[in-house]
C-alpha cells in the first residue's frame, strides 16, 4: 500500500472518537454538577497521563519520576502568579517552556541509560527535586506548600469561581487541544519512528534514524506537556504542594496509564478517569485498604490484561470479528 495513503488512513478520526469527547464534556454536569472540581482534576490528570504515554507508550522510555516535570510546571506557574502575574494562558506557556527546558536537560541523561539505571535516574531526579523544593522553603513554601497564588480571569472574562465551572472548561479545553496535538504527532512519520525505536533500536539505527535525537525530542515535548498539566493544577487550585513532585504521583500516573492501556492516548484518559473516580468514591475508606485494591488491580492487569483495558477490549473485539 502507498505509505501516504496508509498514514492518512491511520490518522482518520473514528466514530468512537467523535462520540467520546461530547460524552466526556457533558457527563460531569450530569453526574456531579456540584462537584466539578473533581472533573477538572481528572482532565488535568489525563493530560499528565498522556504526557507519560508519549514517552512510555510510544517511545518505550520507562520513567518513575515524571512528576518532576509536573511539579516544575506547577511551581513555575505558581511562582509567576504569586509574584504578581496571574494571567492564566501566559502562565501555562511559561510553565511549558520551563518544564520543557528541564526535560531537555534531563533527556541527555535519559537516552544514555537503560534498564535499572534508567529507573534509578528518573527515580533519583524525582527525589532530588523534592529535597531541593523542600530545602528552598523560603522560595517554594517548603512542606506547607506555595501560598499566595492568584489566578486572573480567563481571557479577562471568566472568573475562576468556587463552583469550578471555569476551571473545568479551561482544563478540558487545554486537554482537548493538546490531545489533538499529541494525536497528530504520534500518527506522523516521527511518531511511527518512535514506535520503531521502541520495538527495535538496532534496526532503526541501521535504517538511519537518529535514535537519540528522536528520543530527546519526544522527552522534551512530554516534559513540556507534563509541565502544562502541573500549571493547570496550580492555577485552578491556587496552591502547589511538595506532593506534586513526589514519587507517589509518578507511580500513580504510571498505574493509570497501564490500567487504561499504553501507546494509544485514549488509554491514558480512560485510566485517569477510572482511577480518579474510583479513588474519589472510595475516599471514605481507610487509605490502606484503598491501596490493597489498587495493588491487587495492578497485579491482575499485569497478569491477565498486559495491554490495559483498551487493549483487552480490542482483543475482545478482534475475537468477536473472527467468529
Amino acid at each position: 500500500m502507498d505509505p501516504h495513503l496508509w498514514l492518512k488512513r491511520k490518522g482518520r478520526i473514528s466514530p468512537y472518537e467523535v462520540a467520546f469527547w461530547p460524552i466526556v464534556l457533558v457527563l460531569p454536569f450530569w453526574l456531579f454538577p456540584t462537584y466539578l472540581s473533581l472533573s477538572s482534576q481528572i482532565a488535568i490528570t489525563a493530560l499528565f497521563c498522556i504526557s507519560l504515554d508519549l514517552i512510555l507508550g510510544y517511545a518505550g522510555i520507562i520513567s518513575l519520576g515524571h512528576a518532576a516535570f509536573f511539579g516544575i510546571g506547577a511551581y513555575a506557574a505558581g511562582l509567576l502568579s504569586a509574584h504578581g502575574w496571574g494571567e492564566p494562558l501566559s502562565g501555562l506557556a511559561f510553565a511549558a517552556v520551563v518544564a520543557a527546558f528541564a526535560g531537555w536537560i534531563v533527556s541527555f541523561m535519559i537516552v544514555r541509560v537503560q534498564h535499572l539505571a534508567l529507573l534509578m535516574i528518573t527515580l533519583g531526579l524525582g527525589f532530588l527535586l523534592v529535597e531541593l523544593a523542600n530545602s528552598l522553603g523560603s522560595f517554594t513554601g517548603g512542606a506547607d506548600g506555595l501560598q499566595g497564588i492568584d489566578t486572573w480571569k480567563l481571557l479577562g472574562v471568566w472568573k475562576f469561581s468556587f463552583w469550578g465551572k471555569t476551571a473545568y472548561a479551561y482544563s478540558l479545553a487545554v486537554l482537548f487541544i493538546l490531545f489533538l496535538v499529541c494525536r497528530r504527532i504520534v500518527r506522523s512519520p516521527f511518531g511511527l519512528t518512535l514506535e520503531a525505536i521502541r520495538e527495535n533500536p538496532d534496526r532503526t539505527t541501521a535504517l538511519g534514524a537518529p535514535n537519540r535525537a528522536h528520543l530527546q525530542k519526544i522527552f522534551t515535548l512530554s516534559a513540556g506537556i507534563a509541565g502544562i498539566a502541573g500549571a493547570l493544577l496550580a492555577q485552578t487550585t491556587e496552591t502547589v504542594s511538595l506532593e506534586s513532585l513526589g514519587f507517589q504521583r509518578s507511580a500513580e500516573i504510571a498505574i493509570m496509564l497501564i490500567l487504561g492501556g499504553t501507546g494509544r492516548l485514549y488509554g491514558a484518559i480512560l485510566g485517569a478517569i477510572i482511577f480518579m473516580v474510583a479513588r474519589d468514591q472510595l475516599a471514605g475508606m481507610n487509605p490502606q485498604y484503598w491501596y490493597f485494591w489498587i495493588g491487587l488491580l495492578l497485579m491482575i492487569v499485569v497478569l491477565f490484561m498486559p495491554r490495559g483495558i483498551l487493549g483487552g477490549l480490542e482483543r475482545l473485539a478482534a475475537f468477536g470479528r473472527r467468529r
Partner: protein
C-alpha cells in the same frame, strides 16, 4: 575526633544493615533481570515475624532471627513459583508495576493485621547498652549489626566462591544462555537464589526494627535505599553492594549529622551522577 569516629561507625553499621537488605536483590537482579521492587516487602515480612515472635509469643530476640530468615524465604519461594515466574518475559514495566502492586497490597495486609502504628521490639539487655572501645562509646546493637553483616557476607561470599551451587549461580549471572546450554537448570537456580536472597532481606528486616522502626510502609521506605545500593554497586556484584551500602550508610548518617539541610539531596545527586557516568554501577557485570 572520637565523635567523628562514633558517627562514622554509626553510619557503617547502618550501611551493613542496608547491605543485608539489598544483597539478595543484587544477585537475583543480576541473575534473571527480574526487576523486583517487592524486595522491601519481603524485608517487612521478616520484621513482622520477629515482632510477632518476640512481642506476642515471648521468644528471645536472637532465637527469632533464623525464623525471620526461614519464613520469609519460604513465602518468597511461593511467590516466585506461582506468580513471578509468569512475568519474567513480560518486560520491565510490567515487572515494575506488578511488584509495586505487591508492595501496595502487602502494606495494606500488614496494616490490617498489625495496625498502622510503629512497632518496636524488646532487645535483650546485652544489646541495648554501650560498649567502650578505647575512648569511644559505641552502641552494642550497632556492633552486633556489623558482626552479623560481616558473618553473613563471609557466608555468602564463601558460598558463591567455593560451593558447586555458588559456581552455578556465578555461571548463570555471567552468561545465562551458555549456562543453559551447558545443562544448568537456570530456573531452579534462580528460584533457590531468590528464596535465599529474600530470606536475607527478611533477616535484614528483623534487624532493622530497632533502627528504622517497623510499620506497614516499611517496604516503600527502604525500597529507594535498597535500589540505590543495588544500582550503584552494580548488578550481581557482592562487593559492589557491600561497598555501596557502606558508603550510602556513612554518607546518610554523617550527612544528616553534619549538613542536615543537604544530606539526602547530596545522596541522590551522587547516585544520579554516578549512574550517568557508569550506568552499570561500580562493579556491574552486565
Amino acid at each position: 575526633m572520637s565523635q567523628l569516629f562514633a558517627v562514622l561507625f554509626d553510619g557503617f553499621a547502618y550501611g551493613m544493615l542496608l547491605f543485608l537488605l539489598s544483597v539478595g536483590l543484587s544477585v537475583t537482579l543480576g541473575l534473571m533481570n527480574f526487576t523486583n521492587l517487592a524486595h522491601g516487602a519481603f524485608a517487612m515480612v521478616g520484621g513482622y515475624v520477629t515482632y510477632s515472635l518476640v512481642e506476642l509469643a515471648g521468644w528471645p530476640f536472637l532465637a527469632t532471627l533464623p525464623f525471620a530468615f526461614l519464613i520469609t524465604a519460604i513465602i518468597a519461594a511461593g511467590f516466585e513459583r506461582f506468580l513471578f515466574r509468569r512475568i519474567y518475559e513480560a518486560g520491565e514495566l510490567n515487572q515494575v508495576l506488578f511488584t509495586i502492586g505487591l508492595v501496595f497490597a502487602a502494606s495494606a495486609v500488614a496494616a490490617y493485621f498489625f495496625g498502622t502504628v510503629h512497632h518496636s521490639v524488646d532487645l535483650p539487655a546485652y544489646l541495648t547498652g554501650f560498649i567502650e572501645v578505647g575512648s569511644v562509646k559505641l552502641p552494642a546493637y550497632r556492633i552486633f549489626l556489623v558482626v552479623v553483616a560481616l558473618v553473613v557476607t563471609a557466608i555468602v561470599v564463601a558460598g558463591l566462591e567455593y560451593t558447586r551451587f555458588g559456581a552455578m549461580v556465578r555461571a548463570s549471572v555471567d552468561n545465562q544462555k551458555v549456562a543453559r546450554g551447558l545443562g544448568l537448570n537456570v530456573n531452579r537456580i534462580f528460584a533457590l537464589t531468590f528464596a535465599l536472597g529474600s530470606g536475607l532481606a527478611g533477616l535484614g528486616g528483623a534487624l532493622a526494627i530497632d533502627i528504622l522502626s517497623l510499620d506497614p510502609s516499611f517496604g516503600f521506605h527502604i525500597l529507594v535505599l535498597v535500589l540505590i545500593v543495588v544500582a550503584v554497586g552494580g548488578l550481581g556484584s557482592i562487593w559492589g553492594s557491600f561497598l555501596a551500602a557502606a558508603c550510602l550508610g556513612i554518607f546518610d548518617v554523617a550527612g544528616k549529622y553534619f549538613i542536615p539541610e543537604l544530606g539526602a539531596f547530596l545522596i541522590y545527586l551522587f547516585m544520579v551522577a554516578l549512574l550517568f557516568i557508569k550506568p552499570r554501577g561500580l562493579f556491574g557485570r552486565r
